[in-house]
């Protein structure tokens, strides 16, 4: 962790780190708008923060070095009043109530017009606004305007104890509740100098993989719904229901709420419950495989998926894509690699044979990762689980960093504390990282394909908006 340095040195350090293979993992304003911190992560899972002092209300932009920082800098401007030298134009992201010209990219030429969709959508979907710039049916550009669900959770968490702050991270999003909670708990434990134990690591890994299992089943159903294949949607929805019932049987809650705590785990699974869970997981695995085969041989369905919403490998890296969407484009990025506080061992992500980053690749990526999660769960549940506490022994510090892989990608949490109180909480979720990638993937596709492209990412609005 470095002290706030000069603008030039800050940019040089980040540029050098990116050259050495570190990746951008988040940026936030802190200390009441006095500093900006950039989080970097290396392929082995190590993290580091680079801090720069804000002078005259302006910090140096790094958006030319790491395109993924674009949303972070726009958010820091809107919520903390920080200007970014070199980020031109710095369009509003969180601020609404502005003229259309302020937040849309000008699209000129012969006959382009705009299609406005949302914030309320036609199905049971979260709220957010999409402004498509189109010629005929062809999308030239998409401005995604989210933050309709902005509840100010990070700021509301400030001043609470580290324990009480957990609720703000957990409730940011139900679909990523465990990931956000684990990332938060890791960040607090990092700041408090607490170290994990094998049993604690196992409890949290079980919870993370249970969350991934239901979510991947849900995402497969969502793509079926995206093209109107009701049978596929219904089959995988039923499997999602089975997975959520298993969650309730193991933890008392269908979304696993309340199972993560800072500094320990109270989750207890006895031998009989673990055995029943393994049987249920095996049943889900078998049924999902059989239903997946049915989808593979449905030609009219499969014809809709290839070459739509393409994100090439270079673009995925450049834009900072994470999670299944990045892996489907051939980027082996996964926060489970080298996750020292979790029980993943020498985990390696699975990559598709045809990692071309289209809707089909992202769809197949879920089906590839699902059995991996179910296998992992079966081996983690081979014995009873007991409550466990983290152990003191590490070094206490003011700022802690935690990471976990959500079903949508790597999630980073930075906790800055003032004694036992939260001074600053920043949660950067997989969805947040991937939303700009959705907008990129939509361009040069047909407007009627957008729901399908969007479903192939299946991002949360709630954990981007917070």
């Amino acid at each position: 962790m470095s002290v706030a340095g000069t603008a030039g040195a800050y940019r040089e350090r980040i540029a050098a780190a990116l050259d050495e293979g570190w990746r951008f993992a988040g940026l936030h304003a802190s200390e009441g708008g006095a500093v900006v911190r950039t989080l970097l992560v290396d392929p082995g899972g190590d993290t580091r923060l680079e801090t720069v002092a804000i002078q005259g209300g302006v910090a140096p932009s790094i958006v030319d070095l790491a395109h993924g920082a674009a949303w972070d800098e726009r958010e820091a401007h809107d919520l903390h009043g920080v200007g970014f030298d070199g980020h031109e134009p710095l369009r509003p992201l969180v601020d609404h109530d502005l003229d259309l010209e302020a937040w849309t990219v000008p699209v000129r030429g012969d006959g382009p017009y705009q299609v406005a969709v949302g914030p309320i959508h036609a199905g049971v979907i979260e709220s957010g606004h999409f402004r498509f710039h189109v010629v005929g049916d062809l999308i030239l550009h998409l401005d995604a305007r989210l933050f309709y669900k902005h509840r100010g959770l990070e700021r509301a968490a400030e001043g609470h104890t580290l324990d009480a702050g957990l609720a703000y991270a957990a409730r940011a999003c139900a679909a990523c509740s465990i990931t956000n909670s684990v990332a938060y708990a890791h960040a607090c434990e990092d700041a408090l100098g607490l170290e994990t134990t094998p049993e604690l690591a196992r409890a949290r890994t079980i919870l993370l993989e249970l969350e991934r299992a239901w979510s991947h089943l849900n995402d497969i159903a969502a793509v079926c719904a995206g093209v109107g294949l009701a049978a596929g949607n219904n089959r995988f929805s039923a499997l999602t229901e089975q997975a959520r019932r298993l969650n309730a049987a193991l933890t008392g809650h269908r979304f696993l709420f309340g199972s993560v705590h800072v500094g320990g785990s109270s989750l207890e699974i006895d031998a009989a419950a673990a055995q029943t869970a393994r049987e249920e997981l095996a049943a889900i695995d078998a049924e999902a495989r059989s239903a997946w085969r049915e989808l593979l041989f449905n030609a009219s369905f499969q014809d809709r998926l290839p070459d739509v919403g393409v994100v090439a490998t270079d673009d995925a890296v450049r834009l900072g894509a994470v999670g299944p969407s990045a892996r489907a484009a051939g980027v082996p990025d996964d926060a489970r690699i080298g996750a020292g506080r979790l029980a993943y061992g020498d985990f390696e992500p699975v990559l598709p044979r045809r990692a071309v980053g289209d809707v089909r690749a992202r769809f197949e990526q879920r089906a590839l990762e699902l059995p991996q999660s179910l296998d992992l769960l079966a081996s983690l549940l081979d014995r009873p689980l007991r409550p466990a506490d983290a152990t003191p022994g590490g070094e206490e510090c003011k700022i802690g960093v935690g990471r976990a892989e959500s079903p949508r990608g790597a999630t980073s949490c930075v906790v800055e504390r003032d004694g036992d109180r939260l001074a600053r909480l920043r949660l950067r979720t997989g969805s947040y990282a991937n939303w700009p990638v959705v907008a990129f993937a939509a361009a040069h596709n047909m407007l009627p394909d957008f729901p399908l492209i969007n479903k192939s990412f299946e991002l949360c609005y709630a954990c981007a908006d917070r």
Binding site: P119, I125, A172, S237, A238, R254, C463
Partner: protein, 154 residues
């Protein structure tokens, strides 16, 4: 494809809720006014083969113009206040409002005061309350059926 359809038929026979013939229907329009996405996920599952709300005459429609009931989830954020009111005023009368989930009911809200309007009933008349964080698909199905039977109508 045939296997898939056979499996679904089997599932429905084995596990679906029993469906007495009500002979009536309600069209639902959902508006997310600032939820954590939990209520949406459970509402979506209420239409799967385990609960299959459509068999009871309950369907989610695309436009408030076609809706009898506005199903509102989430702590109403200041940014969703206006779209929510527009959706409500676009509905034909008689219209009903159901607050879905603890946030919409104002229980245990998290967030900054400046960003939240408060529970749904601060800006709209609420006719049905569906508690839970989030309510299970079963609770959603049961309370919506009460609504269709008139039991929960104000």
């Amino acid at each position: 494809m045939l296997t898939l359809l056979r499996d679904l038929r089997l599932l429905r026979r084995q596990i679906a809720l029993s469906a007495p013939d009500r002979g009536r229907s309600l069209a639902l329009r959902h508006v997310d006014a600032g939820s954590c996405n939990g209520c949406e996920h459970e509402l979506t599952l209420a239409t799967n083969p385990y609960y299959d709300l459509q068999r009871f005459g309950l369907g989610v429609v695309a436009s408030p113009r076609h809706a009898d009931v506005l199903l509102v989830t989430g702590a109403v954020t200041t940014r969703m206040r206006e779209p929510l009111l527009i959706a409500y005023h676009a509905m034909p009368e008689p219209r009903r409002v159901a607050a879905l989930g603890d946030c919409a009911l104002g229980c245990g809200l998290l967030g900054r005061q400046e960003e939240l309007v408060g529970p749904v009933e601060t800006i709209l008349p609420v006719d049905a309350r569906i508690p839970g964080c989030p309510p299970t698909p079963e609770t959603i199905a049961k309370l919506l059926l009460q609504l269709i039977d008139g039991a929960a109508m104000g």
